[in-house]
């Protein structure tokens, strides 16, 4: 596989994360308009609209890209809506990038927006005995935090991670997101507050599990040729790789929403675990390795999961994530800041928007526009995420 041409991120925009209960497309329009204004591109000039699907808003959510395109005023653009759970946004982004690299269009808008219920994310209603996402709730009462907690407990038993290590991730991210205007939670949190919050799924406490939020994010992607003509003299942030890999059989890590793993009895384990293979796919495509990163935005569905990601993206070896955290390496000002945006800890999850929001943050960091949370001199960043049912998601961006 050869290294692909980059595409330019000319615009990035978000609607603030929060909980308002309005229709998802209202947030999506704001994010899209902000991204278009940021790019200096008129909606009429957008040739392709890619949207992250939301399953919670009925038909308009299933056809999110068209819903938002109609709300902005039909302009005849080509359209695609993508579903990959938490990875939906990057699947949409990859569709736009592929279309640009194929020479089929020069300007694409990628948008994701969601409005979520309070409390646990629950499966779609109805009796669905052939749906693993329904079965895990009905038969086991296994919520999303159940899975996060299994990984957390395993870190404790295998690597000696402690409650204090996990709490420190939250304290770090809360501080990172303090001045992020798009974050929902902008408040310092102490170790004591984290450790005093109610236990949800042992060993994870309420302040260690990400909330569900309303929000929207959008980016405007263009060909490098278009970017050079449109913004002569400036050098746009470039997408160097996108990884939307699936697992390799046998995947022996229990994953949402499954009640079991593959069996490794008949076939040897793959070289990389699924989560390791997500960032590896981006590094291989870009020809850029973890040593060259200035920052990373990882999917901290829980505090403990952020530590797993340090190892999965190769910024430390297995079992060394707690040391990396406690040495301050992943704090802004450290060697490789992780989640300078504040991460899901400060945002809460707006599923189809979240992977795009990660790309917005890295874009602003690479432009030097991340006021109050800037990673100085950032030149390369990766986003990484995993959508249930086997969806990897990583984007590697450079100046």
């Amino acid at each position: 596989m050869s290294t692909p041409e980059p595409v330019a991120v000319l615009g990035a925009g978000m609607h603030e994360w929060g909980k308002w209960g309005r229709s998802f497309h209202e947030y999506g329009i704001e994010a899209a308009l902000r991204a278009l204004d940021d790019a200096g591109i008129d909606w009429a000039d957008v040739e392709f609209v890619a949207g992250g699907e939301t399953v919670r808003n009925g038909y308009p959510g299933y056809v999110a890209a068209a819903t938002i395109a109609q709300a902005l005023g039909w302009n005849g653009a080509r359209v695609a809506t993508c579903y990959a759970a938490c990875a939906s946004g990057v699947t949409a982004l990859d569709a736009a990038r592929a279309r640009i690299l194929a020479g089929l269009c020069d300007v694409a808008l990628v948008v994701g927006a969601d409005t979520t219920p309070k409390g646990f994310l629950a499966p779609v209603a109805g009796e669905r005995w052939d749906d693993p996402d329904w079965l895990r709730f009905r038969l086991l009462g296994a919520t999303n935090p159940t899975y996060f907690a299994l990984y957390a407990r395993r870190r404790m038993d295998l690597y000696g991670a402690t409650d204090a290590d996990f709490a420190r991730v939250k304290v770090k991210n809360a501080r990172h997101g303090l001045h992020n205007p798009n974050a929902r939670y902008r408040k310092e949190v102490t170790m004591e507050e984290v450790l005093a919050s109610p236990m949800v799924a042992d060993p994870l406490r309420l302040l260690e599990i990400c909330a569900t939020s309303d929000g929207a994010a959008a980016v405007v992607l263009t060909s490098m040729d278009y970017a050079r003509k449109h913004a002569a003299g400036s050098s746009p942030v470039r997408i160097r790789a996108v990884s939307t890999v699936t697992p390799r059989f046998p995947n022996t890590v229990i994953e949402m929403p499954n009640v079991s793993t593959d069996s490794a009895a008949a076939l040897a384990l793959p070289e990389l675990s699924f989560r390791d293979s997500i960032a590896a796919g981006a590094y291989e495509e870009a020809g850029i390795g973890p040593d060259e990163l200035s920052l990373a935005e990882v999917y901290d569905l829980s505090t403990a999961l952020e530590l797993d990601w340090y190892e999965n993206i190769g910024i430390c070896k297995p079992g060394e994530a707690e040391k990396l955290l406690n040495d301050g390496d992943t704090t802004i000002g450290g060697r490789i800041p992780v989640n300078p945006s504040g991460g899901l800890a400060c945002f809460g999850e707006a599923v189809p928007a979240q992977a795009i929001a990660q790309v917005c943050e890295v874009t602003w960091q690479l432009r030097g526009q991340a006021t109050g949370r800037q990673v100085e001199g950032a030149t390369a960043g990766i986003t990484v995420n995993q959508g249930l049912f086997g969806h990897g998601s990583a984007v590697l961006l450079t100046t």
Binding site: F120, T146, V200, T252, V253, S263, L267
Partner: protein
């Protein structure tokens, strides 16, 4: 009091005194699947289409564990009112090299579990509908 009891899900486990989970084995490559797979083997190196039902090992070792301190949302049906927290364990079966998630048997919590600890399969009531008890497989800690 309930007079009858049925499995909460068809074909996943037996309900005899020493219950087993029920899976399928690909007759071409030997890969085991739980819940049952049929139609086409998921091993990408295999084109097998024929499967036989197998009883899985009824003992294994804890891969990891947790509990549910808050009542899960529907379609979970709480067995008690008020809600009582329960524990869950992901358990690795040695022979099949597969990890299976289940609730932990009534009366046991996270303090009774550790990664690597041995457990065995039991079948217990999960919820009741119109006087009919619905049963589910669970993992019960055993002395090592």
């Amino acid at each position: 009091m309930s007079t009858t009891a049925v499995p909460a899900v068809e074909g996943w486990f037996t309900t005899d005194a020493e219950p087993h989970l029920l899976g399928t084995r690909c007759t071409t490559c030997g890969t085991v699947f739980f819940p049952k797979a049929d139609g086409f083997c998921r091993n990408p190196a295999c084109r097998g289409r024929d499967f036989e039902e197998v009883e899985l090992s009824r003992t294994g070792k804890v891969w990891s564990y947790t509990d549910a301190q808050y009542q899960p949302p529907p379609p979970y049906l709480p067995a008690t009112d008020p809600y009582e927290p329960f524990a869950l364990a992901a358990v690795e079966l040695d022979a099949e090299q597969v990890v299976i998630l289940g609730q932990v048997a009534t009366g046991y919590g996270v303090d009774d579990l550790a990664v690597g600890a041995p457990v065995e399969l039991v079948v217990e009531p999960l919820y009741e509908i119109d006087g009919v008890e619905h049963l589910i497989y669970r993992w019960r800690p055993v002395a090592p």
